[in-house]
Symmetry: D2
Subunit: 346 residues, 4 copies
């Protein structure tokens, strides 16, 4: 069980579907999350790693898909996921200017575990997501190093903190403190239980738009706050969805598109400068890098059953955005910039 | 001023931006809307026409874009709008099985006004949208004829009814009566007033999901209703956005994507079988079919100003969905199927 | 064996892979092709039907994908194929202004065979492709009727003529006579034989660009011809690919993209007004409309094996374009417009 | 004038359109190209920089578009170009595992010249392309450093070498030596001269497929060669198109799509593992980062005039691929792997 006080602990329940045990992406078996946090002076940033399964992800890839809601973003590895429909590395999340270093370190991590890459076989496609934390963090200093990346991967666990931690350390959401949030839902298909889990990195929105379970909480909070300095709205939102339901990449993409629905209900209008991207993967089956057969057996979901899944995704994304805020402590960052915590207002 | 009792008349105001005079798509100068309604026995269907400008749309095209939210749909003309970024005919909306007849009649309408089409010059791209009204309408009878199409185009006016009229006659929304809805917003750019207007044809959603300005109205209504027969959720949602802001087709597409945001706030999760499509066009400038110059001057919006537009689109789509319901009368249709009116519950 | 004199009969062999028995799309088991031709006075047009399998295509759908090379086109049904990855009707090809009538008739054809459509279940997605045959045909007369559509479907057979027949009756290719062409290739996967077949409807290109197996044949022909009237280059190219290899829709889309490669080698530069579209489907497995299971078993191709397929597709599309020309007789059409036959020049 | 012996110097002329003075991308005014080459022992790699204009590219962006032919690739910055339609940095090309370092250095380069990035304004979108040069290069060693990147940018000039230089140092094309190639064409619009130029980084293809101006040169060369070891076909192809024609990003994307046409004529079938990507930009107008007006004036091409441009693009890409090979010297690389030069066979 995740230990911080989350949105449900404030009596706010999103949707009607049952949650997984942890109400987190790690309810999907084999998925782990790790953080490394840099928090000192003007530096408020970090790295979050999502490990999709415990094996060798290059040798045993997962079916995956990407949906770009708004492409103002510098995330890496997306076009190959889109073309081949597979994920072959852990997923890293960090600040915008940490992408290059994350790519390099993730390549090195994969090379260390696969002597064949770039020698007997092709290259590897590192998947790295980013948001711009420059309001609270000295992003120009490019402080993320290989050390943080290694640490985030090594620390990955099925229990993980949310809020102002890892890649979420310096992020803002609705002009309050944002960061890492998660949620999950259980659904039944053919009498069998399946799990859908999400992890979000939130860094978007204007305070007056914040809506909590239908209530215009942002406008109420704005009324209480002193007039703040106008801050640039160069946010972003990354959403990683994991599931153990067998799906094709086309189906995962359709599922990924529904994540926006839940976010819209928290008040977000998808600003022009907000890079909003969803990656979805299924742990149900593995695509072998060295496949001996030409024709392989897989499973997919009957298309009509997508309607069981879509509400679960919408519930997860709405709740995860709120969890990312409610668990994030008030932060004083770069140049004395401050982001208050939603927890102090609810 | 549109004359029916609309959602604002129930004290429910969506968003903070000012509306146009009619709070309708026809607040965008030159845009007109017309309906033809078929309502007799098992037949509950019709046609709605959106006239984008008063001139010859083939000779003077408008910059346009399409965004497919969910492609379970049979609308016509979309790939050419996407490729060329222009709209060259009036827009027709009708039921799913009325698309073929609408294409034929719209071609004839264009041929009658342009002796050059298919002779001295190329062909014409008819744009036709559809939703499946089979719950209330005998869609298998294919009752829409050229007569209704002509009539919808001829009746087009800046004043037009909403609800169970034209293409909206047989549509259902959140298992209540849906149909045609509209809304508009005014914004300022460079100290000048511009208008964004929307027309929706609503036919999607489950009752328990309906949310009215943050309130879970659908669940409340469901509690009051007798247990209904389960009905197939094969809906759809068409949204037409007009504006007088000069934009490129890339920008119009970005704008079109934000329409989903407002709809999500009414509770919709975008069901697998719900074809949800947005078309956006700008009346600000005309692209000549017979252009003499090789290089032409146009205007576009500074990209940062998209953030002025996006909230207006989200407000418009949310309000238009609610208007399509509140103005739609209770309807007894095919095989005695009934859709209640939201107006009877608010 | 197809009976006309084809490009191989002129000693011109495209590529190195073995062809199927007929060297046609109907080498893929179960696929049939039928034509209806209208040829009288100014009317030179028709309909071609591709029947994907012998069963009920609505109840037993095939996995499919669409690739739009250039979207200047009015083809119908594409966005749903793209969204759901399935084909559920026969495929019709006709002239641009025959799309509406083809949609209507194809819907009726499906309604006649499926009492549930639009009543107990959802609607049906008719797939119709088109090219503009207005140089040789009185397209404004809209001469295609339900009779031709019925006839094309009923006549469908594994043996079928190419050239100036069916939808190809009035088409032009490289300013010579074009129309219907086909080709196929055999490949081996896991020691098992598979077939890839293509059917093209050609209506694009400038004479001077025509290249036959690397030879600039078009320039040679142009030198022999009297100065012709300049004709508008409002062509199009439709390509239907069938295969019995099990593939996902993502893989079929990747395969479809390679069709352009072969066409480029015949000299085509993809003109702005040339709607070039590819649809690919696999007969290897059927997706049930009334599926009882939530999770279904399918097969897909190991991604590395795509490299066995891609050259076959490129060879097929190049040869089919040439077959569409070499089999097409000289035609005198509307207003005395003439298209010579490539066969008279090779 | 570029000084190496190019394909025209072998009497092979592609197409009929006139070339620019240099027959290179740098015929487009303001565009410069620079290389840094690493060539020692097992290291055969480098960096190529394309400078789009001489000003501050962040403050004065260019309209741009991306077309992904085949997304097996790790190039960076593409989704933002697609969303916003602008290019705001120099373009770097390097090997697959040099992308992270190139991103980092390009960010630093931009930060050094723009104190506002990541502080008073948003972030910057570095555009980096890659191919996998692991056959000739120790790609696992990740040898590209900031030094090479700086050097490539600093060396940028309107005169530049092609072939086995810069990012092309270790690349293979049709199993011969590939690398950097360029070409240009002049066209007239409204009686005014315009230029289209291309730069390619070639690393794709099988020897037997190589076609030189319609001649199956690859098969002839293969017959002369000793049986080689089978090598993995994990190539790629990057194409950068520059023009001074005013176009919107939609139009640039349409232009970019035609680059594939010329490449197909050199024999390429777009292998599954070949990341083939095109970026196109126009130098005709600048989009200001700090724009004071909300509505801005731009120019675009009349859509019909695209047909003047498309053949020029196809000619350029075909010739540039051949130039990349003919100018590339025989190379002995990693582990004694050898790539012969096409120049030794023609």
């Amino acid at each position: 069980m995740l230990k911080q006080k989350r949105i449900r602990d404030f009596g706010i329940v999103i949707g009607a579907l049952p949650t997984g045990e942890k109400n987190a992406i790690t309810d999907v078996e084999g998925v782990r999350v790790g953080h490394a946090t840099l928090k000192k002076g003007d530096v408020h940033t970090g790295v979050t790693a999502v490990i999709p399964h415990d094996g060798n992800t290059f040798r045993e890839k997962l079916i995956a898909a990407v949906h770009v809601i708004n492409g103002f973003g510098k995330s890496a590895g997306l076009i190959q996921v889109d073309e081949l429909g597979t994920l072959e590395t852990p997923i890293l999340l960090t600040n915008t200017f940490g992408v290059g270093t994350s790519i390099n370190r993730l390549i090195q991590y994969m090379l260390d575990r696969n002597a064949d890459i770039g020698d007997q076989t092709g290259t590897v496609n590192p998947v790295v997501f980013e948001c711009n934390d420059s309001y609270l963090n000295d992003i120009r200093g490019m402080h993320v190093s290989g050390k943080e990346i290694d640490s985030a991967i090594e620390n990955a666990s099925s229990d993980f903190p949310e809020g102002a931690v890892g890649a979420g350390t310096g992020m803002s959401c609705y002009k309050l403190k944002g960061g890492i949030g998660s949620a999950s839902r259980l659904i039944k298909i053919d009498e069998k239980n399946y799990t859908i889990g999400i992890l979000v990195l939130t860094n978007m929105g204007k305070l007056e738009d914040l809506t909590v379970a239908g209530r215009k909480a942002g406008a109420e909070i704005a009324a209480k706050q002193a007039e703040g300095e106008p801050s640039s709205d160069k946010g972003s939102l990354i959403m990683i969805i994991a599931t153990d339901i067998p799906m094709t990449s086309r189906q995962l993409k359709r599922m990924a598109k529904r994540a926006e629905v839940g976010v819209a209900r928290t008040g977000n209008d998808i600003a022009t400068g907000s890079g909003e991207i969803v990656l979805a993967f299924s742990t149900a089956q593995r695509i072998m890098h060295y496949e001996k057969r030409g024709i392989i057996d897989i499973q997919m979901l009957d298309e009509e059953c997508m309607d069981i899944i879509f509400p679960a995704v919408a519930e997860c994304s709405e709740e995860a955005v709120l969890n990312s805020m409610i668990t994030a402590d008030r932060t004083v960052g770069r140049s004395g910039h401050v982001r208050e915590s939603l927890a102090d207002y609810l």
